[in-house]
Amino acid sequence: MYDIATIVVGIIQVLAMLALAPLLTGIIRKTKARTQKRIGASILQPYYDLLKLVRKDEVISDQTSWIFRACPWVNFAAMATAAFFIPVFLVYTPFGLVGDLLLVVGLFALGRFFTMLAGLDVASSFGGLGSSREMMISALLEPALFLSIFVVAITYGGTNLSTMIEASSNSSFLPHPQIIFAAIGLFIIILGETGRLPFDNPATHLELTMVHETMILEYSGKSLAMMEWSQSIKQIILFTLMVNIFVPWGISSSILFSSLAVGFFMFAGKISLFGIFVAFLESSVAKWRLFRIPDLIAIAIATSMIGIVLCYL
């Protein structure tokens, strides 16, 4: 078992994730604004938004039930719990004995399940539209995700994220060509999971293109804050996974303060860079038509399948 210090570091990792999540959103938004030749809001704007929202009164649709009201809390709890199992700047997390990557995926699915129900609960055609699209996308993302996890897990010897990232930080890419394929697949999946272009446009309010936004259209005040925040947490978790599994450089392998500090800064740098990269990518592609999205997911599945074959050959 782990000692107190490790557990404290583990909890610090979780808090860091929760705290930094809006910042990452801010960085991406800022970058996108800059690429569009706008100045854009401050990268701290998401924090201001959250603060503003939690202080506001709520308007709740009279059609809704307790499901609608429970959804933001369930969402947040699921995402925050998921954060417990992610090694951030330490190569392992003490909560690795509690849950693994599959649990993280399951928690995401729990949040999404409630979000879809909330979309249906408001009895407008918007909510149904969003849920319907989300149903399709999430259902198709599931196998892609599992296949890429499959590749990573058998390459690095576990779905336990601590084991996985420890193994990846101790080895290089070269003997594991399948990891590159898994990375491509996982990257596409992350775009889908976080509702980024070309799957979904987080900045739109046009019913033709919305997916996620339609489901949370009726939320206001605290509930909206919760929804937004949990979405950011989900995003930072996925990005963290991406950078820590595939580019674990600089991650701290012990709980010494110095190496932890190095690990933290490396992590912040990597994840910002990754955010900026995603933002650039978003600026350069358009949203795809809904029925072309399966094609994109198919690419993710195909790369993961190639990864599997490469694992065994």
């Binding site: 709740i60 699915a109 399940f113 259902a139 399948m305």
Partner: protein, 681 residues
């Protein structure tokens, strides 16, 4: 301490008594109690003795020559007891539920027959699992099929129900024929119908006999389990039956098919550690994956709530079979640890499915009995009028979608881990094909979640879509209570997987056993590090503490804010009504479109016009329907080829006496020639 055997006998007698009361009872106020209370108590006894067996010694009991040449042998070992426990739990909950549910039938004065059949049905399931003789196994098996058939056609006013019942009966009988053939192979090898002799003699069967025993049993039991492509009866029979019966059938009866497959593999077919048997496992995986994906695809586009649940049963049977198949593959390579893992996964899912599908069918039954429609197009907004049913159904829906922290997640986690463990198999082809098999598996889980979003959302949320869903009342207390028992089981099995894993490993005498409820389930990788860990109690603790923490945090941060109820955003136009909502059909439209190769969706248009003029339309009804490829490509051609043959044969009976005499003449001459030519004198 009363011995388990006596408990067993008492529970059998109780069910018999319940059946007898069903036959005798007049239609009084308490007749429902009189019928279902014995079955409740019987179920409790069943639970008691099966736990007794799991923790203690097996029950053996024998009545020699109960029927000429055949001994009634009862043998309850851990495996049987495990399934008996499932039967006991579900039938207890369902009996409780039935007290309230059957009120509807009391009005039409038909509770008595329902009670009789119900009790006999449960009893025969118990006896099937306990019997240790092929003859009696088949007797109980068939009476199980028969009683369930009568329950399926219980509402025989509807032609449709009668048809589904027939499909069920015929298919299950076909399955029985295969089971019979499998047993007969054992019989000709050992010269006895006792399962004991199969058990002892099976190792010595020639390989092809072993294979045949397995194949026949697989087809036979697979039919009962509702495995694709032998599932045709299931989506017809389950919706036709009264809902308490659907719950029993889906939750328990199809599991007995699984029981049969397990028994056959590990007991009767001489399975052993040898690459000869790998293909059995692969067969199970292939058919399991097919069942899972086909079942869930039909479930997601279905509009009939009970039929969607039935299709979902096919899906879950698929998942169970995948686990079982993996276990067989691992076992035949002597990867014991992983075989155990996969078996636990499969059995865990078995008990989980029993629990949540029973719950969901009862929930659906409550909805149907309150609204009198099974079509979710006509429902909506029930959460406000039936809050308890909604909550319980939601628990079931979350569980079946495989979401933490409920039980579905745990078993699916185990199954996924077993799939991941396939990299230990010393064969590249198998490694890759099992890895690819996880593709349909994962897709199934994804679509299953979508299915239950649709089912729950369309039934309980948003506005009522028709008058069926307006002015209805919450169902009676016993029904709620019945459902709550299973809902509690869902939660318990999810939060404390220790319950399930220790149950399974004790029942099946597996090597690795978790020591305490809070130990995390752990799987080691080849370098001795943790491959995966899961400790659901801690997850739940984290989940709830996060919930409390964030609630407090937000409260502190934002202070007390007001909540105002107002109409849903209608883009300022006003008049948002139920016709503008998404319907179940439109909700699943994207998935239907993505899998259009499979569904072949098309619109059926019915037009009714005023008088002669085809352009003056009174009503136009457009319905989007999907094709049932199994029905069209498999069942229909088979039936029609048989009918073609029948048609040829009936032409023999021409009505002409000359023809009849000719047949006699031909027969005589042919037989004489046969004699003449067979010995050339």
């Amino acid at each position: 301490m009363v011995s388990n055997l006596i408990l067993f006998q008492i529970s059998v007698l109780l069910f018999l008594g319940g059946a007898l009361l069903g036959l005798l009872s007049r239609n009084s106020r308490f007749s429902r109690h009189a019928i279902f209370v014995p079955s409740m108590i019987g179920s409790i006894f069943t639970i008691m003795f099966s736990i007794g067996v799991i923790t203690g010694k097996p029950i053996t009991w024998m009545i020699p020559n109960a029927v000429p040449f055949f001994d009634l042998e009862i043998f309850v070992d851990g495996i049987s007891a495990f399934f008996l426990l499932i039967i006991g739990i579900v039938s207890f909950a369902v009996s409780l539920y039935s007290i309230g549910y059957s009120k509807e039938y009391q009005i039409e004065k038909r509770t008595a027959a329902l009670g009789f059949l119900f009790n006999i049905f449960v009893l025969s399931m118990i006896l099937v699992v306990s019997s240790n003789n092929a003859f009696f196994f088949l007797v109980f098996w068939e009476s199980m099929s028969l009683t369930s058939f009568f329950l399926v056609i219980y509402d025989h006013d509807k032609e449709e129900n009668l048809k589904s019942g027939m499909t069920y009966l015929v298919m299950t009988h076909l399955g029985t024929a295969f089971i019979f053939a499998s047993f007969l192979l054992g019989y000709i090898q050992t010269g006895s119908f006792s399962f004991d002799s199969f058990r002892h003699g099976s190792a010595g069967f020639p390989l092809f006999v072993k294979n045949l025993v397995f194949i026949f049993a697989f087809i036979g039991f697979g039919t009962k389990a509702g495995m694709v492509p032998l599932h045709g009866w299931l989506p017809k029979a389950h919706p036709s039956a009264p809902s308490n019966i659907s719950a029993l059938m889906s939750a328990v009866m199809i599991k007995i098919g699984i029981y049969g497959i397990i028994r056959t593999i590990f007991d009767f077919s001489g399975f052993g550690v040898s690459p000869d048997f790998v293909w059995w496992g692969m067969l199970l995986i292939v058919f399991g994956s097919a069942s899972a994906i086909v079942g869930v695809l039909y479930a997601v586009v279905e509009r009939d709530i009970k039929r969607a649940l039935a299709f979902s049963s096919i899906e879950n049977i698929g998942i169970i079979l995948v686990g079982l198949g993996l276990s067989v593959v691992f076992a035949s390579f002597q990867l014991t640890a992983f075989a155990v893992l996969a078996l636990v996964a499969s059995m865990y899912h078995t008990i989980n499915h029993a629990v949540f599908k029973g719950l969901l069918f009862m929930g659906a039954g409550s909805v149907v009995s309150a609204t009198h429609t099974k079509n979710i197009e006509h429902l909506g907004g029930l959460v406000k009028q039936m809050p308890w049913t909604a909550l319980l159904f939601l628990i079931g829906a979350i569980s079946i979608s495989g979401l933490p922290p409920f039980n579905g997640f745990v078993s699916e986690w185990f199954t996924m881990q077993s799939l991941l463990s396939s990299h230990h198999i010393p064969s590249t082809i198998l490694q890759i094909s099992i890895a690819f098999a996880s593709l349909p598996f994962a897709l199934t889980i994804g679509i299953a979640a979508a299915t239950f979003v649709k089912l729950f959302g369309m039934t309980f949320l948003s506005k009522a879509r028709s008058k069926h869903a307006i002015h209805i009342k919450e169902v009676s207390r016993s029904m709620i209570l019945g459902m709550s028992i299973l809902a509690a089981a869902c939660v318990l099995l999810g939060v404390v997987p220790y319950l399930g894993t220790s149950l399974i490993s004790t029942a099946f005498h597996l090597s690795s056993q978790p020591s305490s409820p809070f130990d995390s389930v752990s799987i080691q990788n080849s370098s001795g590090k943790s491959f995966a860990n899961l400790s659901m109690p801690v997850v739940v603790i984290i989940l709830s503490s996060v919930l409390v923490a964030i609630f407090g945090f937000i409260r502190v941060l934002g202070g007390n804010t007001k909540k105002t109820a107002y109409g849903t955003w209608d883009c300022g136009f006003g008049g948002l009504n139920e016709r503008m909502e998404y319907t179940p059909t439109s909700l699943s439209q994207p998935i239907r479109a993505v899998f259009k190769v499979f569904f072949k969706p098309h619109n059926q248009t019915e037009k009714e016009s005023f008088g002669e003029n085809p352009y003056l339309l009174k009503t136009v009804k457009i319905e989007t329907v999907v094709k049932n490829i199994f029905e069209e490509m498999l069942y229909a051609p088979m039936v029609s080829s048989f009918v073609f043959f029948f048609d040829k044969v009936r032409r023999l009976q021409t009505g002409k006496i000359n023809a009849y005499l000719l047949y006699i003449m031909i027969t005589l001459v042919l037989l004489l020639l046969f004699v003449r030519l067979s010995n050339n004198v």
